[in-house]
């Protein structure tokens, strides 16, 4: 009782006394969870968890699911039900005799250990190794296409906002809204149709694949040149498919920023135009684009399937379509899991970069919602 001298002290002590250890722990957890980085992390884990669950549901529980289908197929092929189920459970590495929740937990723990099972068609080839052999091509093509469109698009958008209502502005705004409303796979088809087949400017048939079959992969100039040659059309499609978004959104963000008080203040202080453009306007207008970049990456990786099929570019999407055609479920399921994880990681990185670049978020917390 000696400690209690001020009313505030009493209040504090009472509060501490009333709180159970559990609620104190929850308080800690709550404080941690309020930090934007922790929130982003929880969101990421939740998304991956949901995807794994959805995949399990699709493969195992949905009417007409592949496991039941395989058993039916084997039974019709002359096997009795028990041995058919045994073959199927071996193929899918699912213990069909176990109750559903145990199958689910087993599936979950396999996924966490990175064990995505084996391909149906190439016996003994793990799904992981198949994905790892195609993933770099997609990452390379999507990554370079998006990087190019992001840098060029945001620059054009910034300039368009500065030269508002000029011919430059009207031209790039129209081009941007036109091209961003056209589905990217139609752009890909049009490239083949117009530049490959009609005008014959591009040798589209030779450009198929990720690299020419006769060339030895390695860090040689010949191989790198060949890879770039084959990646040109997918990269061009990803570039054209996304540049409109950047022009329009960067233009909008810059126009909004230009009206902000601190820009007027910076002008009044007589700061150089170039400094205002980069440090004041550019930096603040580009912030929202970064979270947009993460969302767009997800959409592009998803949409890449068709682009890769059209150009016969052997990336993840191409492999997915092949797996769908061959009904190779472990590969399908593995590709869904890996691409979702890749997108979740991209989002997480974007969240982190965002909070680094915008100090307000780091301090205030919870500003990421909305």
């Amino acid at each position: 009782m000696t400690m209690v001298s001020t009313p505030a002290g009493v209040d504090l002590q009472l509060k501490v006394a009333r709180r159970s250890p559990l609620s104190r722990a929850r308080g800690h957890l709550g404080a941690m969870l309020r930090r934007p980085i922790a929130q982003a992390l929880v969101k990421a884990l939740l998304t991956i968890y949901a995807t794994v669950t959805l995949t399990f549901f699709l493969i195992r529980l949905m009417p007409g699911n592949p496991v039941d289908n395989k058993i039916d197929e084997l039974v019709q092929g002359g096997l009795d039900y028990e041995s058919a189920a045994a073959v199927a459970s071996n193929l899918f590495s699912i213990d069909l005799n176990a109750p559903f929740h145990e199958q689910y937990i087993r599936f979950m723990s396999d996924v966490i250990r990175g064990d995505l099972g084996n391909s149906f068609l190439a016996t003994g080839t793990s799904v992981m190794s198949i994905i790892l052999s195609v993933l770099p091509w997609t990452l390379f093509a999507v990554g370079s296409g998006l990087l190019l469109s992001f840098t060029i698009g945001t620059t054009l958008g910034l300039l368009a906002a500065y030269k508002r209502d000029s011919i430059f502005d009207h031209f790039f705004t129209s081009v941007g809204s036109f091209i961003s409303s056209i589905p990217d796979y139609l752009i890909a088809l049009s490239i083949i149709l117009i530049f490959g087949v009609q005008l014959r400017w591009l040798p589209v048939a030779q450009m198929r694949g990720a690299y020419s079959s006769g060339i030895q992969p390695g860090l040689t100039g010949e191989f790198i040149g060949d890879v770039l040659f084959h990646a040109t059309l997918p990269v061009l499609t990803f570039f054209l498919g996304t540049i409109g978004i950047w022009i329009l959104s960067m233009r909008g963000a810059t126009l909004a920023t230009l009206e902000d008080d601190y820009v007027t203040a910076a002008r009044a202080r007589g700061l150089k135009d170039s400094r205002i453009t980069t440090a004041y306007v550019g930096r603040n207008a580009v912030l929202p684009q970064i979270s947009q970049l993460a969302i767009t990456t997800g959409a592009v990786v998803g949409g890449a399937a068709i682009i890769e099929l059209i150009f016969v570019y052997q990336g993840v999407g191409y492999r997915l379509i092949k797996a769908v055609e061959q009904r190779d479920y472990p590969v399908m399921q593995g590709i869904v899991l890996v691409t979702t994880t890749a997108i979740v990681v991209a989002n997480l990185v974007a969240d982190l970069v965002y909070s680094k670049l915008d100090p307000r978020i780091g301090r205030a917390g919870g500003a990421t919602g909305g």
């Binding site: 939740l46 809204s177 139609l186 149709l193 009206e259 999407g317 769908v324 009904r327 590709i335």
Partner: protein
């Protein structure tokens, strides 16, 4: 009716809006009304393969099996349009219901709905769609539309939620709340009428998303839809190699242009509406 007239009068000031509106109207007529007056002509004719455009026999030429391209174009839009409409309707319904619930109730409900939204927003729609289509084989367009809607409501929900959050602070909602008119009344009688334009805009955007995803999986050959469809034309062109024939220009360009122009019309209309109803954008 006066609302519609007023809308057209306002739209007149926006050239892009008129273009978009005219385009949307045209495609609705073309895909939903004209097919009633034109019989399907899809018997292959080996003697008329890859005919160049000629009027009035084959305005857009013939395809790799000698069928009239223009006829396929007339009958190929209906399914795409209907699926887009149904999918947009369902996703708007989901988004409006749960978005306004999240914003008005707040707290735990809001957190849970937002968390689910974030998850759905992150999952790569098209890849999941490809896998679902591969397993479920959606044969009716209702099923396809519902699958599309279930994958596409998330960004709409976020927008609706943000809108409701800002409306919640307005005086008339405050008044309704102090009169204790109930949650249902507040959402459906006070807030939704004020978000009508907003919902229409997002309905249009949801349609463009549905068309994108739908044409994509049809083009991949994952939907066993019988009959004629712009996406199936592209699928055939891709699979049968017609894409690489010089004579196939009109045959392949027609569905590409139809889908692209329809998408463009929808986007232009949505953009014009947004400028009309959002005074902040209009002044900027």
């Amino acid at each position: 009716m006066s609302g519609a007239l007023d809308f057209l009068r306002q739209l007149r000031k926006k050239p892009t809006g008129i273009a978009g509106f005219a385009g949307v109207l045209f495609f609705f007529m073309f895909a939903l009304v004209i097919p009633f007056f034109v019989p399907v002509m899809d018997t292959p004719d080996v003697s008329a393969i890859y005919q160049p455009p000629s009027f009035p026999a084959h305005p857009l030429g013939t395809d790799n099996q000698g069928r009239d391209v223009f006829n396929q174009m007339i009958h190929g839009g209906r399914d795409i349009l209907l699926v887009a409409l149904i999918a947009a309707l369902f996703s708007t319904l989901i988004a409006v219901t749960f978005g306004s619930l999240a914003a008005t109730l707040g707290g735990r409900v809001d957190q849970v709905i937002l968390a689910i939204t974030d998850v759905v927003l992150t999952i790569p729609t098209l890849i999941v769609l490809i896998v679902i289509a591969a397993i479920a084989r959606p044969s009716s367009f209702w099923m396809l539309a519902i699958i599309l809607a279930l994958l596409q409501w998330a960004s709409l929900l976020r927008a609706i939620r943000a809108q409701v959050l800002s409306l919640k602070e307005r005086d008339f909602v405050e008044a309704a709340r102090s009169l204790d008119l109930g949650l249902f009344h507040i959402i459906f009688k006070e807030m939704l009428p004020n978000m009508r334009s907003y919902i229409v805009i997002h309905f249009i955007i949801a349609m463009t998303n549905a068309i994108y995803a739908q044409a994509a999986i049809v083009l991949l050959g994952l939907v066993p839809v019988a009959g004629q469809n712009w996406g199936i034309m592209l699928y055939n062109a891709q699979v049968q190699g017609a894409l690489y024939f010089r004579d196939s220009l009109w045959y392949i360009l027609s569905p590409i242009l139809a889908i692209a122009l329809f998408q463009l019309s929808l986007v232009l209309l949505a953009g014009a509406l947004e400028e009309m109803f959002n005074p902040r954008l209009r002044s900027a």
